[in-house]
């Protein structure tokens, strides 16, 4: 009986909840993660383009603290200046299922770090690397592409729409689509 109890407690501790971890001390601000991603399914050859994802993105988008931090940073770095609350403004919307440069977290990190044509500036050297990941994780939560119990609740703020955790789960169509705003008028 006692052994059973100790064993079950040990199992509990080992499976402790990743969702709830809080990393207050981030990596050195100069560190930069490398993810090899493709922006288009096209490649020069018979095989599709090579991608190499380290998987650290999961640690961000499955962690409620990171996503919530991202939600703060999203406003502090004025992402809402162009993308509004995810519905889009002068920048494309972030809560729908269309991703010009791919909707995986690594793609979003690259987009924030490198910048994209037609207005998205590069934030390399301006936002520490792990904060970029946090923002990207939050962006993923806007269309509820993260788990419900990870997505943030409402802010103590005006109420534009139901908070991320109450949105229906989204489905990401992978990168390389052309957004309607980028299409030439026919």
């Amino acid at each position: 009986m006692r052994n059973l109890l100790t064993a079950s407690i040990a199992v509990l501790i080992l499976t402790a909840c990743e969702r709830e971890d809080r990393e207050y001390r981030a990596n050195p601000v100069t560190a930069e993660t490398e993810e090899k991603i493709a922006l288009s399914p096209l490649s020069g050859g018979p095989s599709p383009p090579v991608e190499r994802r380290s998987g650290i993105g999961q640690g961000y988008e499955e962690n409620a603290f990171h996503v919530a931090q991202g939600k703060k940073l999203y406003v502090w770095f004025n992402c809402n200046g162009c993308h509004a609350n995810g519905g889009g403004g002068s920048g494309p919307p972030l809560m729908d299922d269309r991703w010009t440069y791919g909707g995986q977290i690594e793609n979003i990190v690259q987009t924030i770090r490198e910048g994209r044509p037609n207005g998205m500036p590069s934030f390399r050297g301006k936002i520490p690397d792990d904060q970029i990941w946090q923002i990207a994780a939050y962006v993923r939560s806007m269309g509820r592409n993260v788990r419900k119990d990870v997505a943030p609740g409402r802010n103590d703020d005006m109420h534009p729409a139901p908070a991320e955790q109450r949105r229906p789960p989204g489905e990401v169509i992978d990168g390389g689509q052309i957004s309607p705003s980028a299409q030439m008028p026919q």
Binding site: L12, Y24, A64, F65, A68, K148, G153, R154, A163, R166
Partner: protein, 672 residues
């Protein structure tokens, strides 16, 4: 062994006329033949037909608990459930204590790296939450569950199945929050969980949701037990126990139960609002949409201040019982003692704002609450003086229980004095959220609850187990605890005045708080050691302690009239009460009631004030359904943390289990 069945052989002029002990009213309306008035089945054996060993054995079979795991989970015996309740509350006391020891280790020296900020936040929250909700409220009720039916001279607590259900809900709620803590989902926002810190914006994840649901669990259990206590005290007293013959401990538990009934709904309201803000996006505490964060504080402290008295009032009951027994005289000032308990109960609802002096309230309000905070010192002072007078006038016997009561006097009065300092707004504004406050409320709570509680354990342990606790270890325990406590908490007054804030996981060496903190930690080690001694004493005494006998302390209240530990039926015949201390009034022969069933569970229901026997209701048989209902409730509550729809789909199994619980099963089991 032959016993007289006639009411006149010993000179007991105190026994009132039988007509004054019975109402004799039929159940039916005039002209209506009620089934309740039908004459009892002549085939059913009643306790005026059997006697002695046979009566004891038959009653024990009727009131007993079945063997095996199902039997154990089905039991409705208040002594078994009360024992579980007490042990569970003590386990939570130890867990809360261990988290405190961990915090003291971290604070022993400046810039210690033992425990990080995140774990430290969870630790102090778990410590406070456990001590207040999982130990403080339940321990008073736990003692009531075990002792009240014995002290009142009845055979079970009112609504015995609800009692079992309450225990399981409490157990599951407490286990849930501790498992959550082990899974790194421990709440980290303080035991009060103030918004906006605990709101959806600043507390991501599920940590606070588990805290809020833990509140729901413990409050459901707490209110249900409080109702059982009130009904047991009002309606199940032995015949002849008028209001002024109720033992002081029972009065304390009654007042406590009323405070619980009126205070706990406030914290449920607050935690429901909080969890709705977090999960379904309501705006109770969102200032941008018309909500207000202070609303939470008002609701919380409307509960939170009476909570202090929920913790303290049962202790006044323990102290009263111990002081009377060991002074060898009746309580000095019984009526003032009872009235001051009631006054404390009422005043406790007028104090909550003194926890909010630094929130910028209007000056007039602050002055009013300063006055009421000082006012409550009066009834508490009356109690202390009554106890001292009882001791003074009696012939005190300094056994371990009384030693702990002495410790209580010193520590609680010291805590009360720093409380009067804190009641004044200017001082409070200075020391708010410093270690001074920590020192104050530990003097009040440990002095006011834990010391009397330990005394109560030494006092009633023979009744619980049939064996005495070791007096030698008890003295070691007391002195280690008393000295250790003061070494731990006295320096906190000074660190607080030096400006050390509460709830910080470390501090810089330049602040100069290092030495005092080290002393506190050493004291905490000593306090910890005292509890180890206590645990050893409990375990060893339960197995090898000296046999106690029914009344080892020569006490006067009814729980000592039965064997130790009591048989399932508590009493072979229900006593008739003629005195505040029945066993001192009737040293050889106890006046009793006859005529109750031996084959079915029957209890006497008496009138609320005069204590006349009015009805003989049936008391619930054991049932597994309360346990199943508690499981269904648990699944519903935990599910609702993850989706609000859990309330809907969890409602069905809960309803089914409740139906199973209440649906009558046969003739014998004709109760609800």
């Amino acid at each position: 062994m032959t016993q007289t069945l006639a009411p006149h052989d010993v000179a007991l002029d105190a026994v009132p006329e039988p007509t004054r002990l019975l109402t004799g009213q039929p159940a039916g309306m005039p002209g209506v033949q009620s089934e309740a008035d039908a004459p009892p089945d002549p085939r059913e054996l009643r306790d005026d037909q059997v006697d002695g060993q046979e009566l004891t054995a038959r009653l024990a079979r009727t009131w007993g608990t079945r063997k095996g795991i199902i039997g154990a989970l089905s039991t409705v015996d208040h002594k078994i459930i009360g024992r579980r309740y007490i042990i569970t509350a003590f386990i939570f006391l130890f867990l809360g204590g261990l988290s405190a020891v961990a915090m003291r280790m971290q604070l022993a020296r400046p810039e210690s790296g033992l425990i990080g900020p995140d774990l430290y936040n969870q630790l102090f929250t778990m410590h406070g939450t456990t001590m207040m909700f999982l130990f403080g409220v339940p321990i008073g009720e736990a003692f009531a569950v075990f002792l009240l039916p014995l002290m009142l001279g009845t055979r079970n607590i009112a609504f015995a199945r609800l009692n079992a259900y309450s225990y399981y809900v409490y157990l599951f709620g407490g286990a849930m929050i501790w498992f959550a803590f082990m899974l790194n989902i421990g709440p980290d926002v303080g035991w009060f969980a103030y918004v906006p810190l605990s709101g959806p914006e600043f507390s991501p994840g599920k940590r606070v949701d588990f805290w809020a649901q833990m509140i729901t669990f413990t409050e459901v259990a707490g209110i249900a037990v409080a109702v059982q206590i009130v009904v047991t005290v009002f309606k199940m007293r032995a015949p002849g126990m008028t209001l002024d013959r109720i033992p002081l401990f029972v009065w304390a538990e009654l007042v406590n139960a009323f405070i619980i009934i009126f205070a706990l709904p406030a914290v449920v309201t607050a935690s429901v609002m909080l969890i709705m803000d977090r999960l379904v996006g309501t705006h109770f505490f969102n200032p941008a949409e018309g909500g207000d964060a202070l609303l939470y504080q008002h609701l919380f402290w409307f509960f939170g201040h009476p909570e202090v008295y929920i913790i303290f009032i049962p202790a006044t009951g323990w102290v009263s019982a111990i002081v009377v027994t060991f002074s060898r005289r009746q309580a000095f000032g019984y009526i003032p003692l009872v009235l001051s308990m009631i006054a404390t109960g009422f005043l406790s609802f007028g104090l909550w704002v003194h926890h909010m002096f630094t929130t910028g309230l209007p000056q007039l309000g602050a002055s009013f609450f300063t006055a009421s905070s000082m006012l409550i010192a009066i009834p508490n002072g009356i109690q202390i003086f009554c106890w001292i007078a009882t001791l003074w006038d009696g012939r005190p016997v300094f056994r371990t229980p009384l030693l702990f009561v002495m410790g209580f006097f010193f520590i609680f009065v010291a805590g009360g004095l720093s409380g009067i300092m804190l009641a004044s707004v200017p001082i409070d504004a200075q020391v708010h959220d410093t270690m001074f406050v920590v020192a104050h409320f530990h003097y009040v709570l440990i002095g006011g609850n834990v010391f009397p509680l330990l005394g109560a354990v030494y006092y009633w342990f023979p009744k619980f187990t049939g064996r005495m606790m070791s007096e030698r270890l008890g003295k070691w325990h007391f002195w280690l605890a008393f000295i250790g406590f003061n070494i731990t908490f006295f320096p906190m007054h000074i660190t607080g005045l030096m400006g050390m804030p509460r709830r910080v996981y470390t501090y810089l060496p330049e602040m100069g708080w290092g030495n005092l903190n080290l002393i506190s930690t050493l004291g905490a080690t000593m306090l910890f050691a005292s509890f180890v001694v206590f645990l050893v004493n409990v375990v060893v005494s339960a197995r090898r302690g000296a046999l106690a006998g029914p009344n080892p302390w020569d006490a006067g209240t009814l729980e000592w009239a039965t064997s130790s530990p009591p048989l399932p039926q508590n009493f072979d015949r229900i006593p008739v009460v003629t005195n505040r201390e029945p066993l001192w009034a009737h040293r050889n022969t106890l006046p009793v009631v006859a005529g109750l069933s031996v084959e079915n569970r029957e209890v006497i229901i008496s009138t609320a004030t005069a204590g006349r026997a009015d009805l003989k209701e049936s008391s619930p048989e054991p049932s597994i359904w309360p346990f199943l209902a508690a499981i269904a409730t648990t699944v519903t509550f935990i599910g609702s943390i993850f989706t609000p729809w859990a309330i809907v789909w969890g409602g069905l199994p809960t309803t089914i289990t409740l139906l199973g619980w209440f649906w009558p099963k046969g003739v014998k089991e004709d109760e609800a």
